[in-house]
Symmetry: C2
Subunit: 193 residues, 2 copies
DNA sequence: TTAGAGGTAGACTACCTAGTCTATTTCCGT
DNA sequence: ACGGAAATAGACTAGGTAGTCTACCTCTAA
């Protein structure tokens, strides 16, 4: 493990824990590396932050494979993966840090805004578009439908976790199913068609 | 206008603009007040912050009157008010600042978490409960339904605004209607009942 | 007139932070 | 063995912040 990797790992951990306020001292201390070594590998703290955040985002928002065997099963599978990732402690932390530093790093945020939820909405929308042309869903703007589904899947839970008010989730996989079934009812093909 | 009010106003403006990093110097300077005057009225910066945030939250999340004339009209009225408030610049800023300071002020956040979205879900759920017993909606957990409606109304827009990526909203009042109509389809009474 | 409350300006302490610089050491390839 | 690249410890600069303290001012009420 190179010193650079050690620094990135320590930075990821500390930034996720403490936000951008995590000090360079703390990072090099956790990495077990000298101050100057840090500045040999990174121009400054902002560069390290940008790189660490990029790693976190691409790590958490992995591509998801939608198998078009059954519409409901595909959506439920997506729903569970999405919920699991977006509501995980890492998912919540990275969301918090992006929001709190959005004003300081507008370029970085713009660079990453296509990723995350945005990317997922895109791929989900194109999947839904096929279902619509196949008549398995009613005529509806696929982007709108995708956004509704994603919104319902996260709902109030992300906010509660961001606020540090975790609630008991006895029905983890159940919720994803409930939402998907509601979604299918909402956008079911018209009866008359 | 008393010095205390001047300080609170300046604090609200600066905290909403810059977050908790807004310095005491900047606040007293905008308030046009001496340093010692500030410490005469507030124990320290944290107390001022707590008070300013309390004002902002209670200002933005005003009670909403749901008139039970028509279910659809009531929901649309609620939807428009909720969207207008939650997506306003002040609504976005206060949401951002609460999230970014949630770890530093856990007690304050706990105190305010019942307000905002939480409070709205409660009153909306009790309204929906009546509609369910009246047979105007299908049998469903009213809290779940309320959460779904609120989630769809905000959707991805809050995130985009938090990230500073505002999108064009040509269809402002239309979106609220679309969501409410989708919601009513999702939770329509069962045909067989 | 005077005493006191509250405001003002600004110095001051104590502390933290990012980033630079220096002198020394370690280690690897030739 | 040796030379150079990279790492280390730690001092140092420059700047910012919260909060305290002192000395002075201003206005009001007894």
């Amino acid at each position: 493990m190179t010193n650079r990797e050690r620094l990135l790992l320590a930075a990821r951990e500390l930034f996720l824990e403490q936000g951008y306020d995590a000090s360079v001292d703390a990072i090099i201390s956790r990495a077990g590396v000298a101050r100057q070594t840090f500045y040999n590998h990174f121009q400054n703290k902002e560069c390290l932050f940008a790189e660490a955040v990029r790693c976190c985002v691409t790590d958490i928002i992995a591509p998801l494979s939608v198998q078009p065997d059954s519409l409901r099963d595909s959506l439920i599978n997506f729903a569970q993966v999405y919920r699991q990732r977006a509501l995980s402690p890492e998912g919540i932390s990275i969301y918090r840090i992006l929001i709190s530093q959005a004003q300081r790093f507008p370029d970085l945020i713009r660079e990453l805004s296509g990723l995350g939820d945005g990317q997922m909405i895109g791929s989900l929308a194109s999947f839904l578009r096929h279902a619509i042309t196949d008549g398995r869903l009613c005529q509806v703007d696929p982007d709108f439908a995708a956004e509704m589904l994603m919104a319902m899947l996260i709902g109030q839970e992300r906010t509660q976790r961001l606020f540090g008010v975790p609630r008991q989730t006895p029905d983890e996989s159940l919720k994803a199913e409930q939402v998907v079934d509601g979604f299918l009812r909402m956008f079911a093909p018209e009866q008359g068609a």
